[in-house]
Symmetry: D3
Subunit: 286 residues, 6 copies
C-alpha cells in the first residue's frame, strides 16, 4: 500500500539544500486589469503535472535525473502591491544566496520584477529574454508605475539599453513600439521569434534570465490567461524556442499569466505544466 | 425602426440633475483573497437587467414612476487600493453634494468604506444595516488594514459603538464574534435576521445606510461570489428583508460581491439585478 | 450480451397503437427573446431520463405498469413560426384522433398554443392550469402576436373568461396583472399556489389541460431556462402540486422551457425528467 | 476622476454625421437550426473590445486616426424573419443615403441579405467576397427560402452569375457544390483562399462587399459559433486575407455568426473583436 | 516571509501518532455508472477548505482545539475493484489498530464497504447511520455484486437486520423498498429525517458509523455529484442532522460522492468542505 | 409532417443484414486514471453528427451511397474490466462472422483489445496502424495488466514483432520508447507521421486494422479527452492521414478517447464526428 499527496510538481522532490534548481509559486494578480485569476496558476500546474511523465521525448531527458526542489507557494497579500513584491524579492534572495537557480511560476507578469532585480544583483551583465504577446513597456498604467503593463519598462529602468530582447509581441500602444524601436531601448521581434537564433549566438556567453508570459502562445492552445491575443505561436513553436535557448547559461526564469479559471477544458494548465517541465530540463547544466 | 444600446440599468435613464437616486458601479476587487472577479459585477447587472421588467409585483411599484440616474462605472486602478477608494469617495461626494442618494454596485465589500464615510459626513447619527455571511470585523488581514475582511471594522473605527447591525452572519474568526459580542461594539444576528423587525422599530427615526453583501444569500441561488458560504438565506428571505426596511429613511446603500465569472448559468446576476431593482424601489420616498 | 440505444424516455417503449399516453418533443424556440436553446430540451430529457428509475416513491407507482409511447421529436422549421405551430397542431390531432392523451415536451412556451387548440377542439369545457413565473398575457410582443410572452393571451382569445388559472406568477408588466385581475379574464395566484386545492375542488369534474413552464421553479434548482426568475417554488412544492392535481381528469399536458445549454451541472435536466415522470404517472387513470 | 461606460466599440466614438464608417449590430438568429445565440454577438464584441488596443501592429494604423461611429444594436423581433430583415434594410438605407459605409456585426448569416440588397441598390456592378466554411447555396432549407443556409443563393437571385467569390468552403450538400461549379454561378475556392490574390487583381476596380462568416476560422481558435467545422483557416490566415483585400474598394461589409455562449473562454469574442478592428482599418481610404 | 503549501485540510496538521481522528481520501469511482469523477473529490475539498475558517459558529468549536491528522489520499487502481477495496481496508486497519477514528473522504459510495468492515471488526454491535438519496440495496447491479448501488446491501450481508438506519432516501427500485420495508432488514426514513431524533435516543449507547452520501442534499446546493436527485434536504437540514447526532458515540465515518467536475461554480466543494469540518467537530469527545 | 429521432449516426441507417460496415459504441472508461468520461463519447457523436452533412468535399464521396449500419451502444459493466472486454469481443465476433467490417467508437483505448483480437482471429497477417499521443506500451500500470496504458503491449503479446506501427507519439516512459526502439518490437514515428507514406507502400497487400486515439490531435482542436497532450497534429493533418491510408485494405477500425464532458464548446465532438465520417468513407471498397 503506497500513500502520498500529489501536491509537489512531478519529479521535483529533492530537498532544498541538495537541489540546484528551486521552483516556487507567486500567486499574485493584484494589478491585472482585464481578467484576474493568475493567482490560481501555481497550485493548478502542480496538480495537473501528474498528467505528465517526467521524461521528455523532445529533449530525451528525464526530470528524475536532476535535482529540483519545489518550495511551494509564497503567501502574498492582495491590495498592497509593494509588500507582495517585497516578499517575492526576499524569497528570491534566499535562493540566490545558496547558489541555486530560481524558476518562478506566476501569477501576473509584475512578479517578474523582484526576481530579475535579485538575479541582476548577482549578474550585472544579465540579459533578458522576454517572450510575450504584449510589449509591457508603458511608463505607467492608469496612473500606476507598478503594473503588469509596465513590468519590462521597470526592468529597463535599472538594466538599461541593449539588454532586453522581446519576442512574439503582437499588441501594444503605438508609442510603446516607437519607444522601443526608435529609442533603441529594447529589441522587439514582432509576431514571432525568427531573430532568436541570431541573438542566441550573440549572447551565448552571458548570463540570461528567461521570462515567459504564456500569452505568447495562441489562445487556441492557451485560452486560460488574462488577455488572450489571437495570432500567437503554437506549442511546437514554444518547444523550438526552448531547444534554441538550450545552449544558453540560463541563471533564472519564470513562467507567468496562467489563469486556470478561464480554462474549462484544462488544456492551458496542461500546456503550462509541459512548458515548465521542458524549461526545467533546459535549465540544467551538463 | 427603434434603435438603442441597452447599456443602462433598465428604467434608470433620468438625467443626473433631475434624478433623486444615483446608481453607479465600483468595479474594484483588488483585496479579494479567494476568488476575484467582482470587478465584472456592475456591467453584468446592467446587461442582464433587460431580462427584468421595471414593475415589481412584490412592492406594486414601477421603476418608470421614479427618477433614477445610472451614472455608469468608475474607472478604478488595480494594485493601489488607496487611490481606488479615493476615486469612489470623490464620486460619492458629488452625489451627496447635490442632495441625491447614492446606490453603489460593487465590486468587493471594501468599496463600501468611502461611501459610508461620505454619507456619515452628512449624517452624524447614521445607522449601518449590514447584510452578509461574514463578520468583516478583522483588525487587519494578512497585514493589511484595508481589506474586504476588515471593512466593517474600519467603519466602526469612525462610527463607533451601537451603530452597526449585522445580519445573516455565519462565518468568521472566533475572536471576531467575541469582539462584537463581548465588547458590545456591533450587534450580530447570527445565521438569519429574526431580530430585524425589532431593530427597525428602534432605529426608525434615524438616517440609515444599507450595505448588502450578496453572499448573505445561500449559494444555491447565488453561487457567483468570491467566498460562497452554504447555509444562507433564500431570495424570498431577501424580499422579506427589503419589505421590512421599506419604512426606514435609507440615505445611501450598496450591493456588493457579485462575481459573474463564477456564475455560468447567469442566475446570480439575475438575482443581483432583482435585488437592486427592489432596493431602488424601497429607497424612494412616498 | 444486451444491446440497445437509450434514446427513448425511460419506461416509455409501448407501441403507439397500444399506448394511452403519447409523449413527443417540440424543439422550437423561435420567438424566444432572451436566452434561446429550449430547442435542445426534448432530446436532453430523454438521454438523462436514464439517471432515473421508473418507480416513483412519491406516488408509489411504476412507469413500467403503464402504456406510454415516446414518439420522438417533431422536425420543426425555424424562422417561420406559423409553419412550426401548424406542424405541432397536425401531430396533436393525430394523437387526439386515436383517443390518446398528448404530453408535449418543449421547446418554448408558444408551442402550447396548437396543442391546447387541438384539445379544446374535443373538450369545449376545457380548463387550463398554468404554472409559470410569467403572466404570458401580453397582447403582443415587439409587434408580434405569436410569442412566448403572449401565449396564454392567445389561448384566452378562444377559450375566454373563467377558464384559465395561473400559479406561481412573479413577473410581468403592470398592465398584464391589471388586465387579468381587474378585467377578471384569468385567475392569477401570485408567487405561489396556495389557492390550488380550492380550485381543484371547483374544477374537479372538468377536463383539464396542464401547462408547466418549468421557470415556475426557483432558479436555484432550475437555472437552465430562458428567463430565470429568482423567488420561485421548490421541487418539493412541484411534487405537492402534482399530488394535488392527481385526482383531476387531465386530458393533455406539456412541460416547457428547459434550455439545457444554460445548465452546466445537468441538474435542470434531471429536474425536468423527474417532473415529466411524475406528470405521466399523474395522468394515468386508475 | 474619469468616468464612462465602456459600451461603444473601442475607438468608435465619432458622431454619426461626422463619421465615414458606421458599425451596427444585428442581433438576430431566428433561422439558426443548430446552436442559436449569435444574437449575443454584437454586445459581447463591444464589451470585450476593451481588451484590445486601438493600434494595429499588423497594419501600423490606429483606429483613433479614423472616423467611425458605433450606432449600437438594432432592436429586432424574433419569430418573424421578414420583419427583422426589413428593419435591417431600413437602417442600411439610412447609412448609404448619407454616403457612409456600413459594417454590420451579426447575428446569423441571413442578416447579410438586406445589407447587400441595399448596397447593390447603389452599386450595380457590386462584387461579393464571401468567406465561410459553408456554401450557403441551398435553394431552400426545411421548406424555407430565407435561411442562414440559403443566404448566398438569395443574393445570387438578384446579383447573378460571376459576381460572387467564395473562400474557405469545406461543408455543404453535394448538389450545392455542383450547382456552383457545374452551373458556373459562383466561384468556390474550396478549403482555403489560394485563389484570392488572383481574384483581387481581377476585381480591383469594382466596388466590393465583404461578408465574413467567422466559422471560416478553425474551431480551435473560434469555437463560439453555431456550426463549428474543423479544418478551417487560422487567425494568421485571416490577417493575410485582410491584407490581401486592403487595396480593394470595399463599400460595405459584415462579420457574422459569433455565438458567445458557446465560448466559455472568451477567445472567440477576442478573435471577432480583432477581426472587426482590422476590417475597419482596411475599409479606410487613404 | 511565511511560506507553505495549502494542501492539507485546514486545521488538520497534527502528526499521525498524536492525532485521535485521521482523515484520508479514497479517490475511487470505478463502479460509477452515470457521471464519474468522484475520484477528484478528496483533493478538491482540501484545496477549497482554505475558503473556510477553522471555527464553527454553529457548534461554537474550533478545529484548532482538536487533534486531527490529514493522511492524504490513497493511491488506488482503476479497473480492479477488488484490489482498490483491499487497499482501503488495509489503511483503515492501520488507523483502527492505533485506536484512532477514521473519517474517509470518497470517492464513490462503494469505498464505504471496507471501512465499515474494519470498524465492525472492532465493534460487533456497530450501528450504521446512512444518509443518502438512494437505497443502495440492490442484490447486484448489471451483474456485479460490488457496486455503488449495492454497497448497503453488502454491509447488511455481514451486519444483519436492525443495524442499518437510512435517511433521506428518495430513489430506488420498487423491490429495494419492499426488501427493506417488508423484509424488515433496514429502516428507511423516506425523503427526510423526521425519525432521526427518536432513533438517536434508541441507539445512544452503541458505537455508531456514519456514512454520508452527499447526494442526500438537494442538487440546488449540491449539483456536483454522480446522480443528482431533486427533492433533497437543505444544507441547514444537514447542520441539524449533525447537531442531532452530536451526542452519539461515532467511531468512524465517511463523506462520499462529491464529483467536482460537475460543479463549475465550486459550491458543491464548499458544501462538502463544511460538512466535513462540522462532522470532524461532532466526532470529538468532550 | 416528418417525424423522427435523430439518434443514429447520420447516414448510417442501413439494416444490419444488408450492411457491409457496422459501427457500434463501447462506452467503457473503467481503467482511465486521469479524467474519466469517454463513456459518453458514443452517444454524443451520434447526436452531433447532425451538424454534419453526409457528403465529404475532401473525398468527394457521400455516406448515402454506402451501406453502413449503426448498431447502437453495448451495455457494459463498470468495475469489472474483464467482463466488459468479453462483451465487446462477443459483439465483434458477431460482426466478423457475417463478413462485415467493425468500426467501434470508444470509450477508452483498452476497448481496442477485444476487437483486434477478434479481427486477428480471421486475419493472421494483420497489421496495426496506431495513431496516438501515447505509447500505450507499459507492461502493466499500477499493478494491472489490462489498462488504457498497456493496450498496445497486450496486442503485441499475441501479434508479435513487426506488425505494429505507431504515429504521433509524444508521451511515454523512457523505458517504453527503449523497449520499442531498442527491442525492435514496434515501429514508433515520434511526434508526427512523416514515415506513413513509406509504410503504406510496404503494407499495401496486408489486411490492416486502424486504431485512432483522438488525443493524437492537438488539444487546441481536441481538448475533450482524458489526457490532453499539447504538441499534437492538426485536423488537416488527420485528413491527410486518412487520404494516405485510403488505398489500404482496412478490415476493422476504432476511434477512441472522446470525453465530451471536458469539451464545453462541443468542438471535440464535432471533430470526432467528422473523423468517423471520413474514416467510414475510407473503409469502403470501390
Amino acid at each position: 500500500m503506497e500513500m502520498f499527496n500529489k501536491y509537489c510538481f512531478i519529479g521535483c522532490d529533492t530537498d532544498f539544500e541538495e537541489s540546484n534548481l528551486v521552483i516556487f509559486g507567486a500567486p499574485f494578480d493584484g494589478t491585472c486589469t482585464f481578467r484576474p485569476g493568475s493567482r490560481f496558476g501555481p497550485y493548478k500546474v502542480r496538480i495537473e503535472s501528474y498528467g505528465l511523465e517526467t521524461y521528455s521525448p523532445y529533449l530525451n531527458r528525464d526530470l528524475e535525473d536532476y535535482k529540483v526542489h519545489d518550495a511551494g507557494d509564497l503567501d502574498l497579500t492582495f491590495g498592497n502591491t509593494f509588500s507582495a513584491l517585497e516578499n517575492i524579492e526576499n524569497f528570491a534572495k534566499k535562493i540566490i544566496a545558496k547558489n541555486k537557480k530560481p524558476l518562478m511560476i506566476g501569477g501576473e507578469h509584475l512578479v517578474t520584477l523582484p526576481v530579475v532585480k535579485t538575479v541582476y544583483g548577482k549578474y550585472k551583465d544579465l540579459i533578458i529574454l522576454h517572450f510575450d504577446a504584449h510589449t509591457d513597456l508603458r511608463e505607467n498604467y492608469m496612473g500606476e508605475s507598478l503594473s503588469h503593463s509596465t513590468v519590462i519598462r521597470r526592468i529597463w529602468d535599472f538594466i538599461g539599453d541593449d539588454k532586453i530582447y522581446q519576442f512574439g509581441i503582437r499588441s501594444g500602444l503605438k508609442k510603446e513600439f516607437l519607444w522601443a524601436e526608435k529609442g533603441g531601448h529594447t529589441f522587439i521581434n514582432k509576431f514571432g521569434y525568427d531573430k532568436l537564433s541570431e541573438i542566441v549566438s550573440v549572447i551565448k556567453d552571458k548570463p540570461v534570465y528567461v521570462t515567459i508570459d504564456l500569452d505568447i502562445l495562441d489562445p487556441s492552445i492557451f485560452p486560460g490567461t488574462g488577455t488572450p491575443e489571437p495570432g500567437g505561436i503554437s506549442f511546437k513553436n514554444m518547444l523550438e524556442i526552448l531547444k534554441t535557448i538550450d545552449s544558453l547559461n540560463i541563471v533564472g526564469a519564470d513562467v507567468v499569466e496562467l489563469a486556470p479559471d478561464y480554462d474549462p477544458t484544462g488544456v492551458s494548465t496542461a500546456v503550462a505544466s509541459k512548458v515548465i517541465r521542458e524549461l526545467m530540463l533546459v535549465m540544467q547544466d551538463f
